[in-house]
Symmetry: C2
Subunit: 386 residues, 2 copies
C-alpha cells in the first residue's frame, strides 16, 4: 500500500521490487486489497512488449481520519484512502481545559463537524487514528500517562467509541510523526530514522530498518525525559535536568524569562503567542530572541548529539509546531552544536533536517496508522509490515 501510494499507480512487479516481497505474495495481497475496495485496476504499462497491469488507490474506497490532540489544540483532518488531505478542523484548547471528558468532547465535536461538512457518513470511515501526548496502551486504547496533563490510565477509546462508532487506533504523536515521515517525508526509503517532536512536550519517534520501533511496551522514544543536566531544572515527570525542561516550549520561554524577565515577547501562559513573538524577533534580528534561540540550541544540539552517538541514524527530522515557528535559525544553530558534540563517524552519516511535510504531520501519521490498522485487519498483518 505504501508503494502504490508513493507512486500513484504501480505494477505488481514494481511493488515486489520495492518491498522485497515475492511476486506471488504481492499478487495475493493486491488481490485482497482489490476485493476490499481499496485498490482498483487502472490499465496497463508496456514492459518489453508485455503488458503489466497497473493498480491505484480506489477513489471511492473509503476515508481516513487523523486526530492530533496536543496540549494547546485538537486538530481533526480527513483524508481519502490514498492519504490525500480532504478537509480539516482545528479547535484551540485552553490550558485549564484538560480533563479527559473535555478533551473527548472536543474530539467528538470536531470529527462530527468535518464529516458533516464533507457529507460523508460514518460507515465510509475506514478508521480514525488518534494521537494523544504521553504514553499509550494501544491494545487497550488507554492513555497510560500524559505528564503535562497529569492523566493516568484514562480509557480514551472506550469514551470515544460510544459516541462515534468508528474503528479507533490510539497512539502518541511520536509514533504518528515518524510514520508520516517514513511514508511521505524525509524518512522515505531510509532505514534508521529519528523524528523529534518539539512542542510543549518533546520526544523522539524511532524507526529502525525502515519500520516503526515501539520498544517492549510501546513507550520507546521518551527522549524528553532523558537527563541532560544531572540535578538540573526540575521536571514534571519527577526527575531533574530532563531534555524537555530546556527545549520544550515552556523551557524555551524560561530561557527568555531568565534573560529578560520584562520582555514584551512574553505572553503569560500563552505558549504559542510567546514562541511566535520569539520567531518574529529572530526574523527581525532582535538580540534577545537570537540569544534565546542560541541557548535553546545549546541544549537541543547536545541532546540531538546524544541520539546521533547512541543510535547512529541516517536522518534526524525536527518536527512539530515549535520547529515550524522557530524554523531555519534554530536548525542552523542545532546543526552547529551537534557538529561540536557528536563523534566523527556517526556525524558523517547523519542528515539533520526540518520536516517538509505540509499540513499537520501528526494527524497525517495518525491517519496512516489507522490505514495500517485497517490493512492488517484484512490481510492478517502481512501488509502492515515494512
Amino acid at each position: 500500500m505504501r508503494s502504490v501510494i508513493a507512486e500513484s499507480t504501480a505494477s505488481r512487479q514494481r511493488i515486489a521490487g520495492e518491498t522485497g516481497l515475492s511476486l506471488a505474495t504481492v499478487a495475493t495481497v493486491v488481490g485482497e486489497l482489490i476485493t476490499a475496495g481499496l485498490l482498483v485496476e487502472v490499465g496497463f504499462e508496456d514492459s518489453a512488449g508485455r503488458p503489466r497491469g497497473l493498480v491505484a488507490v480506489a477513489p471511492a474506497g473509503g476515508v481516513l481520519i487523523g486526530v492530533d490532540v496536543a496540549e494547546t489544540y485538537v486538530r481533526v483532518d480527513l483524508f481519502d484512502a490514498a492519504l490525500h488531505f480532504l478537509d480539516g478542523v482545528e479547535e484551540r484548547l485552553h490550558p485549564e481545559e484538560n480533563r479527559p471528558e473535555q478533551v473527548v468532547g472536543h474530539i467528538v465535536a470536531a470529527i462530527r463537524a468535518v464529516l458533516q461538512r464533507a457529507g460523508i457518513p460514518a460507515r465510509r470511515v475506514l478508521g480514525a487514528g488518534i494521537s494523544v501526548p504521553g504514553q499509550v496502551d494501544r491494545d487497550g486504547g488507554v492513555s497510560v500517562f500524559a505528564p503535562n496533563w497529569n492523566w493516568h490510565d484514562i480509557p480514551l477509546r472506550g469514551l470515544l467509541v460510544e459516541s462515534l462508532g468508528i474503528p479507533l487506533h490510539l497512539d502518541n504523536p511520536l509514533r504518528a510523526a515518524v510514520v508520516a515521515e517514513l511514508w511521505f517525508g524525509a524518512g522515505r526509503r531510509r532505514e534508521d530514522v529519528i523524528v523529534l517532536t518539539l512542542g510543549t512536550g518533546v520526544g523522539a519517534g524511532l524507526a529502525f530498518g525502515g519500520a516503526l520501533y515501539r520498544g517492549a511496551t510501546n513507550s520507546a522514544g521518551e527522549w524528553g525525559h532523558t537527563t541532560l543536566v544531572l540535578d538540573g531544572r526540575p521536571c514534571h515527570c519527577g526527575g531533574r535536568g530532563c531534555v524537555e525542561t530546556y527545549v520544550g516550549a515552556p523551557g524555551i520561554i524560561q530561557h527568555l524569562r531568565e534573560l529578560d524577565p520584562d520582555s514584551p515577547m512574553l505572553h503569560g501562559n500563552d505558549q504559542t503567542a510567546t514562541i511566535d513573538a520569539l520567531a518574529h524577533g529572530a526574523d527581525t534580528g532582535h538580540p534577545t530572541a537570537l540569544k534565546v534561540i542560541a541557548e535553546t540550541a545549546r541544549y537541543l544540539g547536545a541532546a540531538v548529539a546524544n541520539l546521533v552517538n547512541l543510535v547512529n541514524p541516517e536522518t534526524v527530522v525536527l518536527s512539530s509546531w515549535v520547529t515550524a515557528r522557530l524554523g531555519e535559525p534554530l536548525l542552523t544553530e542545532v546543526q552547529a552544536v551537534v557538529t561540536r558534540h557528536a563523534l566523527r563517524r556517526p556525524l558523517t552519516a547523519v542528515r539533520i533536517v526540518r520536516s517538509t511535510l505540509s499540513g499537520d504531520p501528526v494527524s497525517l501519521g495518525a491517519a496512516t496508522l489507522a490505514l495500517e490498522g485497517f490493512l492488517s485487519g484484512i490481510t492478517g498483518g502481512r501488509s502492515g509490515r515494512r
Copy 2:
C-alpha cells in the same frame, strides 16, 4: 545454528518453530550446513509415531577463535563449532603499549600459542572474531577511531591477515558482548536488549527484535559519549560531561581521588588494581569504598534510566570487568537510582541484571560473530539473520 546450539540437538521442525522460518527453508539451510561439515545427523525423535531426524553440531567441524582486545589486556579464546570453550590465553597490555604494531604482535602471538597448545592447524579454523575498542569499519577491517589509544584509521585486518592466514572478522566489544548475551546469556529469547560494557571505556550493545542493531555505519551504541552533565568533566572525545567520564574505570577512580586523595586504595595508573581494591573495600564495608560505589551509581543509574526511557528495552545487562569486580553492590545501587529516574511504564517492563556468562563474554561474542560470518559465506546470508 543458534537454535541447534541452544538445544544441543534439534529437529528441523523444532528449528522452524523457533526461528519462524518455513520448514522448507530450514531443510535447505540444514542441508547446506551438513554439506559444509558443520552439522551432522545424530538420530531420530518420536513425534506422534512419526520419526523426526535430529541434527547436532559436528564435533570435528572446525574451531573458532575469539579475541578480546581491551585497553589493559589481549585475550584469545578457542572454541569448537558449537562455541564450547576449549582453551584460552591472556596477555596483559601495559598502558604505554598501545601502538598498533604492538597490539597486533600480541594478538598474533596469542593466537599462535593457543592453536599450538591445542595441536590445531590454522586450516581447521573457521574464522577468528576480533573485538577492538572504539569504532570499527567491518567491511574494510579498519579500526576507525579508538579514543582511549588515539588510534585513527588503522588497517588492523590487513596487518593481521599477513601473519595469520585465517578468515578475520573485526568488530567492537559492544557488538561482541550483545551477541554473546543474545546467543547464550540474559538476551536469549528476548527482543529488545541492551548490554552495557563497563570497563576503561563504556558503551552499549543494542539488539532490537532479537537481532543486533548496528546503525547506519556500525557505530551505534556510543552511550559512553552521550552527555549526562552538560559542561561537566572533560572527555578525551573532545566533549564534556560524557557518561564515560563518570562511570568508566578512570572516572570511578576520579570519584575516589576526589573523596580521599591519599586513599591507600589508589594504585597510580593501574586501573585494575584500584578497582580491585575498591571491590575489596566495599566487601568489607569500608565507608570510602561504599561512597565511591554510591557516587558511581548516581551517574550510572541516571545514564541507564536514559536508555530505559528512550529505548524501552526488556533487558539491560551490565557486563565487562568493572561489573564483574564491583558486582552486586553496584547493581543494587544502580537499580535503586534507575527506579527514581525512569518513567513508570518502561521501568515496569525492564529487568536490569548482571551478565551471568562464564569466561569472557567479548571473546565468546567475537567467536560467535566469526561463526555468523562463516555461515553467511556458505548460506548466502540467510542464516546470518535473527
